[in-house]
């Protein structure tokens, strides 16, 4: 935007009077735009500062290692709490969600953009977008009442046939309230995000590329592989990262489904697990002063994780853009 503005300033074709009004309007707009940009940074900084400031009392009171402890009793005397189990549960449930949602989301987007007949495509796009508008508590209650009882068989099958892979082993014989189920619900919740963004990216693939590939005798899959994917890779990565952001921060659905145990249990089909956001929702109401501060400290960690995830995504996208042709 500022590029065009500077060009206009030096444009001899614009009469003098007009130039002046243009300059004033341009200045206002530039000030407004950069103000908005700075404001975002200020808000981010303020959030970070607030979280750090509010978490200091609990970090000082913590009698154990904040990063390795798997218990959460901040209001005890002495306070005992740490984020290890929260970090574990957050990362594992989000990973399960990504593993399930990204391939399916990309598949939906491919179908809508290249395979489906036009009326089917627009209806399907509308329906997947609609999925994003369902409140997360609905997903939570649905996961609890419908999905959980019906996932029993799947989890049992994983244990029976893939139990030699440690994560699918279930030593308890109880398959409810697990990270696995939370991951599946999260996958459904991030699916619309992933598919909507990748769909938009796929639609922007230059039709010359697509038609060229087809004209050269490529099958439709070869066209997707050679023309669409290379062009859209950064967009697909951003889509996955946006979805990951939602999966990491999802609160109420996870709080309802997980058993909220403070353990690090690699058997993902067993009851247990907890996440940063779910723990804050579960403990906030009854927390004492140190408890509140401890929850804010855990929020700070989540804030940093999402920041790192987003920066990583940006970095991957920027590294790829030279030879992808996008941006």
């Amino acid at each position: 935007m500022s590029n065009t503005a500077t060009e206009n300033e030096h444009d001899p074709l614009i009469p003098h009077g007009h130039q002046q009004t243009g300059r004033v309007g341009d200045r206002i707009f530039r000030g407004f735009a950069s103000g908005a940009g700075i404001f975002v940074l200020v808000i981010m900084g303020a959030i970070g500062a607030f979280l750090i400031w509010k978490s200091i009392p609990s970090l000082q009171a913590d009698s154990t290692n904040f990063f390795t402890t798997t218990e959460w009793f901040p209001d005890d005397n002495p306070a005992v709490f740490g984020i290890a189990a929260l970090l574990f549960g957050t990362v594992i449930s989000a990973t399960i969600a990504m593993v399930l949602a990204v391939p399916v989301g990309i598949g939906i987007a491919l179908f809508i953009a290249f395979y489906a007949p036009r009326p089917v495509a627009s209806t399907l796009a509308f329906i997947t977008d609609l999925l994003a508008a369902v409140p997360s508590i609905i997903f939570g209650l649905w996961g609890l009442a419908v999905l959980m009882p019906n996932m029993q068989g799947t989890a049992q099958w994983l244990n029976d046939y893939l139990g030699w892979i440690p994560i699918f082993d279930n030593t308890l014989g109880i398959y409810s309230k697990s990270l696995f189920i939370a991951g599946v619900v999260l996958a459904i919740m991030v699916l619309p995000t992933v598919s909507a963004v990748t769909r938009e990216v796929f639609i922007q693939v230059p039709s010359e590329h697509v038609e060229g590939a087809l004209a050269l005798g490529a099958t439709r899959w070869e066209m997707v592989r050679m023309a669409v994917f290379p062009f859209s890779l950064p967009g697909m990565i951003s889509a996955a990262m946006l979805g990951l952001g939602r999966a990491l921060g999802e609160t109420i659905a996870v709080a309802l489904i997980l058993s909220a145990a403070f353990t690090i249990n690699w058997h993902i089909t067993e009851p247990g697990g907890n996440s940063f956001a779910a723990n804050i929702a579960l403990k906030w109401n009854e927390a004492g002063p140190i408890g509140l501060s401890a929850l804010i400290a855990s929020g700070l960690v989540l804030f940093l994780i999402t920041l790192v995830v987003n920066m990583l995504a940006r970095w991957i996208v920027s590294r790829r853009k030279d030879f992808s042709g996008a941006n």
């Binding site: 959460w72 009793f73 209001d75 005890d76 977008d129 994003a132 508008a133 369902v134 409140p135 997360s136 508590i137 609905i138 609890l144 009442a145 009882p149 014989g173 109880i174 409810s176 309230k177 619309p192 995000t193 909507a196 963004v197 938009e200 990216v201 967009g235 946006l242 939602r246 109420i252 709080a255 309802l256 997980l258 058993s259 909220a260 145990a261 009851p271 579960l282 403990k283 906030w284 109401n285 009854e286 927390a287 004492g288 002063p289 408890g291």
Partner: protein
């Protein structure tokens, strides 16, 4: 463009969730107790907040009081005991509802808020904690502290364990794994339930008490409603919830508890007997209680909880103290206490109720 679209969806989803949450919290309250004509009305409006355990009782009381005394507004926000005490200490509310009396660390802060007098704990609403179970064909289940502790700490894992069978002669118990549910959120129900186990089960209960569940194993569910839903939908399961949640729930039974003096049925009356026998440990009009959870009296149900109203004996702003006093006088009256059992709560009775009324009348 793509990002703004996603953001819009997220916003819609968030707004929907908010609207739904708002709907959820405004429901509740059921039968309303009719305020007797003898209510001594005050004027104005006050805010209060705290324990969600007494939310339904408060809703009924406030409805009845406001009906009897038009023009008054009492706003009780059930945001949790911890938050309620903090709101009161920060002088944002006129009284707090709490499922535990002020702790030694909280008392001086609360006293400071009350300028010219101490902050007092007034027991107002009692409750019973039921051990809810889902066992087909078992209409009456008897548990004692040691066995309950064993079940809830994963030491006893099968329903046909000899220890359970010994307490229930003649009852056919299945050879099934016990699915055990506890609260995943911090809760006064957990604190009082584990307090009973700690006081009575001795070496069989090694975990500490507190609002957070500290025993190993089992599954957590959010809130009494979800614990009950989990028990209801899981065969061969057990959990602990407030008594009102079990009453009328299909397929879920409430275990009789035996402290050693014979099994006691979980009823409002049996819980009221235990609460009435509690010793007052506070001084003056500060009625913080110590409940004898080891009671062996034949009609005293041991797993109970008491929730308090915390307010200033003296030193509330003049416009607030009159209304607090008038409202609490109503809640402690026969009309106020009489409606509690209908909602699954336990009324304050006997000498303790007299002390409560004395304490309320001292507010100025």
């Amino acid at each position: 463009m793509t990002i703004s679209r996603t953001a819009r969806f997220t916003f819609i989803a968030a707004a929907g969730a908010l609207a739904l949450a708002a709907c959820g919290s405004s429901s509740g309250g059921g039968s309303s107790t009719s305020a007797s004509a003898s209510v001594n009305c005050a004027t104005g409006s006050i805010k209060a907040s705290g324990s969600s355990a007494q939310k339904n009782a408060m809703t009924d009381w406030i409805n009845a009081y406001q009906q009897a005394c038009s023009g008054t507004t009492i706003n009780y926000q059930a945001n949790g005991s911890g938050a309620g005490v903090q709101d009161f200490t920060n002088a944002q509310t006129a009284f707090a509802g709490s499922d535990s009396a002020l702790k030694d660390t909280e008392q001086p802060l609360a006293d400071k808020r009350c300028a010219s007098g101490p902050a007092i704990n007034i027991p107002m609403v009692g409750g019973a904690i039921a051990v809810a179970y889902n066992l087909t064909g078992v209409d009456k289940l008897i548990l004692n502290p040691a066995v309950t502790a064993g079940i809830f700490s994963n030491a006893i894992t099968k329903w046909n364990d000899p220890k359970i069978a010994a307490l229930n002669p003649g009852v056919t118990l299945p050879d099934a794994t016990i699915a055990q549910f506890h609260r995943s959120d911090a809760s006064g129900t957990t604190a009082n339930f584990t307090a009973w186990l700690k006081d009575t089960a001795g070496a069989d209960w090694t975990s500490d008490t507190g609002k957070e569940w500290k025993a190993p194993g089992g599954q957590g569910s959010k809130g009494s409603d979800q614990v009950l839903a989990s028990v209801k939908s899981t065969p061969n399961s057990i959990g602990y919830v407030e008594l009102s949640f079990v009453q009328g729930a299909q397929g879920v039974g409430a275990a009789w508890l035996d402290n050693g003096g014979g099994a006691v049925e979980p009823t409002s009356a049996n819980a009221a007997a235990t609460i009435a026998a509690a010793t007052v440990t506070g001084t003056g009009n500060n009625l913080s209680l110590t409940i004898d959870r080891t009671t062996k009296a034949p009609n005293n149900y041991p797993a109970v909880l008491v929730t308090y109203e915390i307010t200033c004996e003296k030193g509330l702003a003049a416009d607030q103290s009159a209304l607090v006093k008038s409202f609490l006088t109503y809640t402690a009256s026969d009309a106020g206490q009489g409606g509690l059992a209908d909602n699954g709560y336990v009324p304050i009775t006997g000498d303790l109720l007299t002390k409560v009324r004395t304490a309320v009348s001292a507010i100025s």
